[in-house]
Symmetry: C2
Subunit: 407 residues, 2 copies
Amino acid sequence: MQHRKRIPPAEAIQYLDSLLQDLHGQPESVTAANACGRVLAKSIVSDVSIPAFRRSMMDGFAVQAEDTSSADESSACTLRIVGTSMPGNGWTGNLQSGEAVRVMTGAPVPEAADAVVPFELTSTLPAGVRISSPIAAGKNVSEIGEDIRSGQQLLDAGRSLRPQDIGLLSATGCSEITVIRRPRIRLIITGSELLPAGTRPHGHRVADSNGPMLEALVSRDGGTSLFHGITPDDPDSIRELLEEGLRDKADVLLVSGGSSAGDEDFAPDLIAQLGELPVHGISMRPGAPAGIGRIGNCPVFLLPGNPVACLFAYDMFAARAVRQLGGRPQQWPYRPIESTLLKPLHSAIGRLDYARVRMSEEGIVPIAISGGSVLSSTTIADGFVLIPPETDRISAGDTARMWLYGG
Amino acid sequence: MQHRKRIPPAEAIQYLDSLLQDLHGQPESVTAANACGRVLAKSIVSDVSIPAFRRSMMDGFAVQAEDTSSADESSACTLRIVGTSMPGNGWTGNLQSGEAVRVMTGAPVPEAADAVVPFELTSTLPAGVRISSPIAAGKNVSEIGEDIRSGQQLLDAGRSLRPQDIGLLSATGCSEITVIRRPRIRLIITGSELLPAGTRPHGHRVADSNGPMLEALVSRDGGTSLFHGITPDDPDSIRELLEEGLRDKADVLLVSGGSSAGDEDFAPDLIAQLGELPVHGISMRPGAPAGIGRIGNCPVFLLPGNPVACLFAYDMFAARAVRQLGGRPQQWPYRPIESTLLKPLHSAIGRLDYARVRMSEEGIVPIAISGGSVLSSTTIADGFVLIPPETDRISAGDTARMWLYGG
């Protein structure tokens, strides 16, 4: 990074947002069973009413409420039982005054009836059903369209579907739902020293951690990873993977490793040749070697090989693109809380710092770490505090905002 | 429900917890790539150190710090460049005082060097590298085990794995991870009036909404649904499905519909015959016909056919079992907030009520609905407020706890 001026994070985001403003999520059709958690691409209007018929809300007797108007303990009314209405199998007769129809919850209420008296308020006699208190017209009857009217807008475009939404859509006869396609995120993990993730490290080689971590982050943000394994620090291989990513119609390219300006950092020059790389070197720690550019319309992110820097740069920049292309809000899925910082955090004016912290009963405790590249700092931590560029410290006793990793 | 005393929700949970106390999640092995969001069944101890060798944290020159101790602008030290150490391909020579080795980030630092001077603090001359300020011993060198020591406990049993955990495990050579198997939840959706989900409703028949909703809820809570389609209200069919669920080694049975005491409510008697059903009829609204029992060691939940009651009874009772059997905390995934209730909520002493509400700028607004069975009330709502059995109202102006549906 020796030959570049570092760019403020806010400017990096400004460039990113200018790239993203012309990009939109693409629609695809999925079955309702696969739609939970997906983002609606189009608002949904019901073309049916629910209920579609007058439906009993109780097990009881469908009656004409008027027949019960003067009923009381001393002078109960007794109605003749003329039939039974079952769910899916209604009574087809013509109810008259003085008559009642046994009706189960969910069954149609006969047309001439206007109330259902629950079983527990009745007793059955040889002569019929005895009702000893009046019932109001409409009681325990769901009217047509009470839940949903035909033509009603059920759910708005952009909504992330909840379990009950899936229930509602299923009830209205929606079997296919148009959601925003998961953005396709091509991962290019570079490093001649890397062994495939999960390989026991040996010699001077290390096992890849960024590939599996980025796959999990992309999935969390609603994207699909395209990852075909690590690649050595070799300009021809990296160029081939960038071009392959475009041929595969990736929506975003993530390049991890080789992002700096060292001897084996080929990706920056390649991206600049194939497209543009106006953001390279950002005032943040860790993550200074990160970069943002594009090849054609495809945003490209340079993520440092250092796994903590990779995580932070992904969350700061790439997550924003993945979420927006999937129709999701740009905000992090981390929950913020405000609490007292128990030990000071130091940074430098002009630099954004990512401080891993724990939560204690008393407040926020920074994690003492010797190096910024220590991935275990992010697994020991409960979350992080950002020290913004405008300040060089947050003092002990100050209120700080902590973002909870959760999970 | 006419012939039963309703059980307080707290007693229902007490019975449920007595069922659950002898049940535990079962382990299974998954690849790291599939482990994010899963719950660790066993604590993980690293059998490697990371870094496993002294690693450079910068692109620069590995030196003996002592050589730079008196360097300043007017009297810089110049060191002879004797080699290059690349990531995965270290320099194998023997560094002497007065010498420097070019080293890239991630590459091994020669044994006799104890600091890395970043390129930007050096200039390269024909005679070697010029360094004009002293560097401290240890600077920019990651020591062996700085991130992880061999034998160190990395992650505790019971942890829900985060993206960075997957990165850490991948880096230590873990390719298979022992997590708690997703509990298998058999769904039995009954109702002669039901059409398969997504069918356009017609006549007196309605399309199933509880099946797809429960599948989504079970998935949210970390379980796997076993659902083979709806079944009519017929005791032989329901008995066969209960027995089949046990043969399939389901961890939990969920029965939706036919849970009350009407003519076609066969499930309660069948469960009592095959096992026990001590909880049937609970003081809650909606959801009073819900029940909890067991067949053998398998918890069985009766969920009302009314979809709002089904959602509430699932969340109150079944979710607790699904989450615990999957090794997850029993708490809801809904986030609680406290705010001012803007209109009163009415209930009855002794009854737990589920009031759907919206969030406005000013506070919590109950949703005006005509019927408790209106599923759209849960899709219009931002969340819900519970009115506990001890009280019959929450007054306007009171602070209430609202649970956010999220999504």
